[in-house]
């Protein structure tokens, strides 16, 4: 399939988003998978938040959309580390973007572009990152209940953000999740199974 380039980004998308879906845009699951693995602090070296305000792989406008989405999706809550200040959610997404194949990376950028501008239709020409908390939440909820395209788009971005937060071990005590246990419990490794008898 030929990929259109970014010069195609045009407000005419706003009228109807279906053309994007025909371009195989809704790679929610691809991104979800990449999010799980790319956010792995242990393998990639955890960046302590607050990160330098530079991201290697995300563009500044993408960072703006993602930061707002992160704040709105995962607000401060008793017993949980902050999704912006403590857990490097955006840093993790940045690493994730760096590991995406070019085609997926392009689609991710496009998803953010559309998500950022979609509210202009119903929120008096305001972009997502400029909406106040209540409007931003309302926008996300209405996208989740809308056409299949919007559901896919919203689910994708929500999954990317939330995975890159909850995969951080610091969030687990609040869930009462025990994490890795084999070493902690001193479970012995059995090694290879013996050869079956003939």
């Amino acid at each position: 399939m030929r990929q259109q380039d970014f010069s195609d980004r045009h407000p005419s998308f706003m009228a109807g988003l279906e053309p994007l879906s025909r371009r195989g845009f809704l790679r929610g699951s691809v991104l979800a998978g990449a999010a799980l693995s790319a956010g792995c602090a242990r393998l990639l070296g955890r960046k302590e938040a607050p990160e330098a305000l530079e991201y290697e792989h995300l563009e500044p406008n993408e960072v703006r959309t993602l930061r707002r989405l992160t704040e709105v999706l995962i607000p401060a809550s008793e017993g949980l580390p902050s999704s912006i200040e403590e857990v490097p959610t955006l840093g993790n997404i940045d690493s994730m973007a760096g590991k995406m194949p070019p085609q997926t990376r392009e689609l991710f950028g496009l998803a953010l572009w559309v998500f950022e501008r979609r509210p202009m239709v119903s929120f008096s020409f305001t972009r997502f990152s400029n909406l106040d908390d209540d409007d931003a939440l309302e926008y996300i909820r209405s996208m989740q209940q809308a056409s299949f395209f919007e559901r896919g788009l919203t689910t994708t971005l929500k999954t990317v953000v939330t995975l890159n937060y909850w995969r951080d071990e610091r969030t687990w005590p609040a869930l009462d999740y025990w994490g890795p246990v084999t070493e902690k419990w001193g479970v012995t490794r059995l090694g290879n199974a013996p050869l079956p008898r003939a």
Binding site: S29, S37, V181
Partner: protein, 536 residues
Amino acid sequence: MRNVNVPRDGVPVTQAKDVAADPSLGKKFRLRADVVIVGSGGGGSVAAYELAKAGLDVLVLESGRYYPSSRFTEHLGDSMQLIWRDQAGQVNTSADVVFAEGQCMGGSTVIGGCVMQHPPDWVFQRWVDNHGLADLAPEKLAPYFNQVGQEQQVHVNESHEINACAHKVIQGCERMGFSWQPVTRNVKRCALTGHCLAGCPSDRKMSALVTHLPWASAYGARMFADTQVTQVRTRSGRATGVDAVVMDPDSGSEVARMAVDAEVVVVAGGAIQTPMLLQRSQISDPSGQLGKNLAVQPFTQALAEFPEDLHAFRGALVGVQVDEFFDTDGYFFYSGLAEPEQMLAQGYLGAGQDHIDFMKKYKRMAALNAFSIDEGNGEVQWEGDAVNGSKKIKWNPGRSEFENVKRTAALAARIFFSAGASRVYLPTYQHLAVDSVFDLDQTLDQVDYGLNGMYTFRMNSFSAQGTCRMGLDKYAAVVDPDGECHETKGLFVADGSLFPEPMPAPPQWTVQVVAKHIANRILERRDGLFIQGNSA
């Protein structure tokens, strides 16, 4: 007498870094073997073991990395990054169904859920009646099932392997009058960590990594990881070997090219990759079925919230199955709640405080994975040339398949409500949860088939099958009853792609059994296959 020693731990595997460090190999090298096996998962590992044990010179080539269990971290994200194909992002063309697959030494057996199920005899009787597979009649396969069962330490879950999640399913079934059973699993002395999908660091899961691969190696099989087979070579209707590329698993850069000369090629790359390799190799296929008949066993997960803490992620991942609808509808259900990250692969998610509340209920959640049998109408296609082409997995639910998925989700929800759930989160792309069984049907009615069922239910496939279907008739099937391509002598398939019809059961045990049968047929036909003579 041969000296057969199974290594205590790990498998001797040549990796890209070893190839890079060996100046004698250079950038292009050539190997010879009696049999080259493509893929080291459920099918490939069993074939390697059987053929090496019989004295053949076996070479196994695996595209994924060698990730020994001593390095497993019980962190799903680590495993997904390193050993799940496309980082768990292999999807259909509309990108709403995930096709999970292992890509490592041991293939999907390394990340599997450990459920081992012997399908009912009628499944194999249909293979006999409809596809001429007399050698796969139930009574002929029975000894193979026994053998694999013993090799894999298959046992029925004991009471300590039934965790809180499974208990909720049992309670619900009892109230509904549904039949349930403890599942059979291939685990030896389970440590009850619940981390099966990330790989078992204490070697209790009997994956190929700790069974058939080290055993094959003990009998002399050689193994390469990081080695992607790009083409099967043929001449005058005979397989002559394969071409492969050795790649650095971290950077993806090419380390060397390998050519293998072998009179028998066994392709066991799994039901998604195998047909594409044969398509790239332009293998003659009079049936026109190569890559077609893809069955996916779509499954969704119903998550239920209970008033009390369950910590249902603790203990053996899969405890019980609901088999009430197995024979009548082809539905099957398994209890199992994995890591917190898996909650996010569910549909609900929420936003803001709603999302936080949802996640904080993890300890009060139980999950039931609802599978249905599909019609096998999907297709896998390699598009473009061998080097620059790309894969296409075409599968979206038809209307009746969609209705089945919906019905399984509804049944799973009912089971949980009967067990006392206060809320069930539905596995949909819409944000749907139900607080009472009386609202269930009405809520599910909001999920409309729409356009090809796209972005309706959050479906996954762990068990693709059927893309190189087996059968007697060369105009209807890709491979013959021995697993050999109808028109290419010496080219065998030994993996989940062989299943001639969608199967209503988790496939691993059957894949291993069929691979044993195929290895056996290769050995029985040894004189005709190895015309250049073979050492054994």
